[in-house]
């Protein structure tokens, strides 16, 4: 849906041409705990980042929240996370940790005082880890439209008969390209439940971004995640509030949902991951001009 609206806004001529910075004075709001945390099916040291909100024009990295106690409960075992010495506010599991599809993970945070009243607070959030179908294959397709060039990542896979929610990411030579919330693509199977995808375009690489330029021989890896409906809407809401908004298409600005309690914000999510790779060949790169 959002893609459609974005296309329409391209059709409205010249709307984005006249933009300039202005001074806006805004008030402050109370400080909240911010949680960003992931449990995936990959075996690695998983992390949870704790920080706090700040004034909108704070213009400094988010203040880290250190010395908290973090426990991850999978319903059977409780894992303890440890704060990294060099990265204040980042808490890690052991490096052999991996999530198991079907389990529900609960993150418990304690021993911290965000509101500064001298009393310790506790926070928690839970997420189910949903499974995801493997991807058969991917292909790259060069595009050149309206002066923009790049690649569509086309995906061949079965959507399961159940309702699914996905996030799509892309790596080049092992390095994550879609490493921000706004570059990640999330999708619900509402309109194609149970169908084969026939190479649907699921991510874009743009030659306007230096790290996304593809050369012959590059390995492009597509990552598909089976996410929860709640996280899907978290990303949709966050993207809609971070992308520019217009009086034509945007509803009133509104705070982004969270799965944390006790006035904390952010999201703790568990998801499964599958991968599929392709090597960029000369007939694809730059539309085959180097052949």
């Amino acid at each position: 849906m959002k893609v459609i609206l974005a296309i329409i806004s391209i059709l409205v001529p010249g709307l984005w041409n006249c933009t300039e910075r202005i001074e806006v004075k805004v008030d402050s709001t109370f400080t909240r705990l911010v949680v960003e945390g992931y449990v995936t099916t990959d075996t690695m040291a998983h992390w949870v980042r704790l920080s706090t909100t700040s004034d909108y024009f704070h213009n400094q990295p988010a203040p880290a929240v250190s010395k908290a106690s973090l426990r991850l409960d999978d319903g059977e075992v409780v894992h303890t996370l440890r704060e990294a010495d060099t990265l204040p506010g980042w808490y890690f599991t052991d490096s052999d940790f991996y999530g198991i599809p079907g389990k529900t993970y609960t993150l418990n945070i304690s021993d911290l005082d965000i509101d500064g009243d001298g009393l310790m607070e506790e926070y928690s959030a839970s997420s189910e880890l949903r499974r995801v179908n493997p991807v058969d294959s991917i292909t790259l397709r060069y595009f050149n439209a309206f002066g923009t060039t790049g690649y569509e990542v086309q995906v061949y896979a079965w959507d399961s008969p159940e309702r699914d929610w996905y996030s799509f990411k892309v790596k080049k030579n092992g390095i994550m390209l879609t490493d921000t919330l706004t570059e990640m693509n999330v999708q619900s199977d509402e309109f194609f439940n149970g169908n084969y995808t026939h190479g649907i375009t699921s991510q874009f690489l743009s030659n306007e971004k230096p790290d996304e330029i593809v050369e012959i021989g590059d390995t492009i890896t597509f990552e598909i995640n089976g996410i929860t409906e709640d996280y899907y809407y978290y990303v949709i809401e966050a993207q809609s509030q971070i992308f520019p908004q217009t009086p034509l298409f945007s509803g009133p600005p509104a705070n982004i949902r969270t799965n944390l309690n006790n006035n904390a914000i952010g999201f703790f999510v568990a998801y499964s991951a599958e991968y599929s790779s392709t090597i960029a060949t000369s007939d694809v790169v730059d539309g085959g001009v180097n052949q």
Binding site: I8, S28, R32, E36, N59, P247, I265
Partner: protein, 792 residues
Amino acid sequence: MKLLPFLLYTTLFSFFILSAAFPSEGTSSDTEEEINLRYSISGHVKDASTGEELIGAAVVVEELNRGTVTNVYGFYSVSLSPGFYQLKFSYIGYESAIKAINLNQDQMINIELTEDIQLLKEVTISAEGPRAHVRKPEMSVNKLQIKSIKRIPTLMGEVDVIKAIQLLPGVQASSEGGSGFSVRGGNPDQNLILLDEATVYNASHLMGFFSVFNNDAVKDIKLYKGDIPADYGGRLSSLLDVRMKDGNMKKFSGSGGIGTISSRLTLEGPIAKDRTSFLLAGRRTYADLLFLPFAKDEDVRNSQMYFYDFNAKVNHIFNEKNRLFASAYMGRDVFGNVFARMAFGNQTYSLRWNHLFSGKLFSNFTLIHSRYDYELGTPEGEANSFNWKSRMKDYSAKADLNYFISPEHTLKFGVISTFHDFEPANAKGLGEQSLVTEFSLPSNFALENGVYVSAESALGERWNFKYGLRYSSFHNIGTATVYNYDENYKPTDSIVYESGEFFNFFGGLEPRLAASFMLNDVSSLKASYSRTRQYVHLAQNSTAGTPLDVWFPSSPNINPQISDQVAVGYFRNLWDDRLEASVEAYYKKLDNAIDFRDHASLLMNPYMEGEIRIGDGSSYGLEFLLRKNSGKLNGWISYTYSKTERIVPEINYGNAYTAPYDKPHDLAIVLNYEITNRIWVSGNWVYSSGLPVTFPTGRFEYMGNIAPVYSNRNAYRMPEYHRLDLSISLAGKDKPNRKWDWDLNLSAYNAYARKNAWTINFVQDDNDPNVTHAEMTYLFSIIPALTFNFHF
């Protein structure tokens, strides 16, 4: 508690209706017989050169200093005791005519008025006769002459009736350059927009920058902002009544224009002189024809982007008592490029039959069909290829009768029934490759009815009353699937209704009352109360709205919206009637006001009703208008102070919040000055408070982005808005044997290039991701436009 006012009202109402039907007006020496012996003088008032009926022309019985005005079909009727009378017919910009009558039987007198050659000379005749503005028990109404609208400088030179009404007190543009408007704080979907009696569901072209009305085809517009007449219902805030020209009855003629973005041509003329005439009007933009072919980029070259309007009308006079009008409007916007295409548009059709049962009883019977649809899709052959359609259709039948009892009493009554058919969405994949499954939201059907009676009565020299009662009802009809929702608005189960099954009913009374009291010859006090009910609503969550917004009916989950409005006003003519001044204060209360949850998903959502949050609203304001209709210098100044709030339990933590179209201060100065007969200049300056907005008061980091933490809803305001538009026009020399005339208009929209913020966004710095900026987007700098108009 609500019963008492209702009983009081119905008692009063019956009293007035009875007093109107059996008038006891007159001196004590009047006998029953004399009163009963009345003859009617009736007929049509027309333009002598075109035969077009004049709406709202004044007909005054000079001996009694009483009169009437022509209705929307140019018809008037006065019933008087036998005797000699002089009737004076007048209309703004026309020479008055006086007719001496020996009234000894019912008479039919059609009058043709000649346009004043010395256009708008310094003799004051307001549109509805001298001081009608002061005397009539009608308030919160603005009428604009199409002639004066044509002189208002506009965006890209496109004369636009909706842009003109946005300059009136109590009316606000819903976004910069847009043709959506908010009346007294109401939502844009609370305006009933009628074109020859047919509802126009989306009055916008090109994302709202132009309206669907081609000014060359429009005869008359009238905006009711409060006291909506009992004849009309179905919307809370306003009625915009647009009437198309009927077509020249005397000779073949045409008019048109070549503008910066569009050209238009209107042809009209008699098919049989003084009996049958036609009108055809077309308008099309041509950016795609003129500019796109020269674009460097092939993809831009192959894009489509245009809109058109087509108006057609035929009318035939069978005899003095019967006349038929058939009107049609078709308009469409088309956009397309390599990625996507979109098209949307309205169609309206109305067939009207004017029938005179007698000189006193005028009737009009109408059949109406109106529809709005859009489609959206991508090219075929891709995995994501799809086509998506949405459509709504109305079929209405309507009867309206006007009974002219005496110069003091007029009675109107009628009935309307509308069948609504909503098809909110149907999407399917295109081609074999597409993985999109067909997806349809079920259609909704409903029947909306209204029956009304209203009367206008003069009581003595000073009092004038208008009192009407409308009863409206609404039935949902199967086939339908109605979902039930739990307290968290999650669907729990559903009920399926069979085809043709009436499964839900709403109905209620809508009293409409107004009174005026003449303080003296030139000033009056007025007051009005009106209740309106709205049964169909627009799922629009953004301020400017998009063509994709869909209408939806009230249902077991959605009660009708109800508005109660009271207004008081002081009206006064100044400077020998050259100036009309008015001050109005209003208070409006909304029940079951519709808003939407945060992050609502309104399109293609089978559970859309679960996105709706119901609350209450209120609005109050003070409106000033000073207007000069004639003379070399004419125009108006309007100023509004207002405040509009909403309370919805699930929004803004249940606290009251400023409504999205609330602008406390709103000023418009609209002036036109004729330097010579051939050269005139126009300008308007608007100033208003910025629209309310929600800004971030905090931020947080997540996955490499900075995300906002917001203030309370609408706690801030956009920067104040102001803009000056100017135009200068030069008309061709008036030569006696020239068959055509022309004028050339040069306009500048936003003449001092004010950067008015259209939206303010908060963005991350490109170089330092820790830094955020506020960034405003403005749409228009100074926009010059040249338009050539001709008329023959």
